[in-house]
Symmetry: C2
Subunit: 326 residues, 2 copies
């Protein structure tokens, strides 16, 4: 089911890079706790260990990769700052990391992005340059920003520094929980899943790696079965962190190390999200309810197993909850 | 400001009772974690340590006192079961504890109580006997239940076993955090605050104890200033766990050991609740947002101090959030 996808141009990070990343970012991130839930263990028939990256700095795991990229720059490059295009957690995380280092950060965002997200980026000291909500406008605007500032581009996921940073999450989890049989994480562009593959293939190759994806944005699952990247055109899902397609570097890891990609419907995602809030008393965003939704739907896959579940983030608009009709 | 209030008839629990309670209930409760938040430290000017009883079994600290009462019964008494009247967290907690011991539990609840609460009690194996929503109906119904079953009455807070159980929360917190200057907890009937007084007056008498109360149900604050119990008639507040009045045993602890009782408006409570969900990614119920609301409003009292904040519970109706107009 896997294909030997290999990026043509990009450096493939090694486990040494993960160790270096962890040392580099440790002062700037939380070692997030593991929570367990008798309720969900009974409901699933598995033993679940939730790695709570919703409690992470800037509210999501993305701060690991962003911090690794920012703090790995030499002083000369750092002076010119960093830049990215994102309207989500990567924008917040890169702004947080750049703020910690005291260097400029520019984020290209569609002018239609939610005000709350823009305010959060500015709150961390980021500069926003608005573009029209189209790929061509975004790319043109971003090229201008880089030409003007000389800033270092930090891609949200197709970047070896970012993947090595995300890989520190499962490195911590393996220290915190003994005897895991499997780890599951949501998949969008594949940054977290690639980091998980990087860590586990090196230090725990017997642990199975599952990715969880919204059925409405199942390009990674279809790519996985086809053996090559299939990029969807603007999928619609409540799990807004998971709309982006795989790229060459994440495809390398996904195609080589993932056991399976499971999908869940929008209703199943919302139900799992609400149930987690109700029973575990934690705020998770729709994207990170997808793994639990797929576990509850594929009980036979996980029954009797010790499963690490990466809760990727908690940045939710509390005024617009999907189970409350506005 | 304190008066030597002394219960006439009730046994005053000692710290030895707290140690015994902790041993008795340890297999049945969580040792809940402490969370910290850079954001709230900066906002308040204090160093805050949140003791997360919203992650507790049955979703609230009340399971400590209920479990101590249930597991402290001798076998003969236990056979007849336990009973209480409550439509809140005590009903859930007593049902949970009785279920763990495998003994009957009957809860008298007004027929107007939310279906979700009734379902939760039944989910833990409790039997509900409905009464009319009036004190006279509740008392008559409850008397019938006890006459019929011979069940042991476990009062939600005016009970030495319950107070000794709640006292295990601050006992844990003192193990988990060094050098606290103050502890703050919400006050309704005063069970948690009394338990906190019981522990701290014995093992850390220099740590100041603050209670936080909704301004709309400020009977404890007024009692504290008057020097005797003032019971309010049906106060209206969103913090529905804090409507009940002090009783003789809790008044003993509150009047002797509390430094001050601070109040917050409904708007301040809802704002603190929402802000905690947003920034800490934890689900807390309105009642337990009251301490944070009073800290943010009385910054001069807590500035520069290390403050333990007891987050008492997380049982919220997610379909009816106070900041979303239905």
């Amino acid at each position: 089911m896997t294909a030997m996808g290999k990026p043509d141009s990009l450096y493939i990070p090694t486990y040494e890079d993960v160790i270096a990343a962890h040392e580099r970012i440790a002062p700037h991130i939380h070692r997030t706790p593991i929570l367990t839930s008798t309720y969900f263990n009974e409901l699933s028939g598995a033993e679940l260990f939730f790695k709570c990256e919703n409690f992470q700095k800037a509210g999501a795991f993305k701060v690991r990769g962003a911090s690794n990229a920012v703090f790995g720059l030499d002083d000369e490059k750092a002076k010119k700052g960093v830049a990215t295009h994102s309207s989500g957690n990567h924008a917040l995380s890169l702004s947080y990391a750049a703020g910690r280092r005291g260097i400029p950060v520019t984020v290209v965002m569609p002018r239609t992005a939610p005000d709350a997200k823009k305010a959060a980026v500015r709150g961390y000291g980021g500069t926003i340059v608005e573009c029209e909500p189209s790929t061509s406008s975004r790319e043109a605007t971003f090229a201008e920003v880089v030409a003007e500032t000389g800033a270092e581009f930090v891609h949200p996921y197709n970047d070896p520094r970012v993947i090595a940073g995300q890989a520190t999450c499962s490195k911590e989890m393996m220290d915190q929980v003994d005897g895991l049989d499997a780890v599951i994480a949501p998949i969008g562009g594949g940054g977290m899943v690639s980091g998980t593959c990087l860590t586990l293939s090196n230090i725990a190759p017997d642990v199975k790696i599952y990715a969880a994806e919204p059925l409405n944005a199942d390009d990674a699952a279809r790519s996985f079965r086809a053996g090559h990247i299939i990029a969807d055109d603007a999928p619609q899902t409540i799990a807004d962190g998971l709309k982006v397609p795989l790229k060459e570097l994440t495809w390398h890891f996904v195609s080589n190390y993932v056991t399976d990609i499971l999908t869940a419907t929008e209703e199943e995602i919302v139900a799992a999200m609400k149930l987690t809030w109700e029973r575990m008393k934690i705020v998770m965003e729709p994207s990170c309810a997808v793994p639990l939704a797929t576990i509850l739907k594929n009980k036979e896959v996980f029954a009797g197993k010790r499963v690490g579940v990466i809760v990727t983030g908690g940045n939710v608009d509390l005024d617009k909850l999907p189970w409350i009709k506005g």
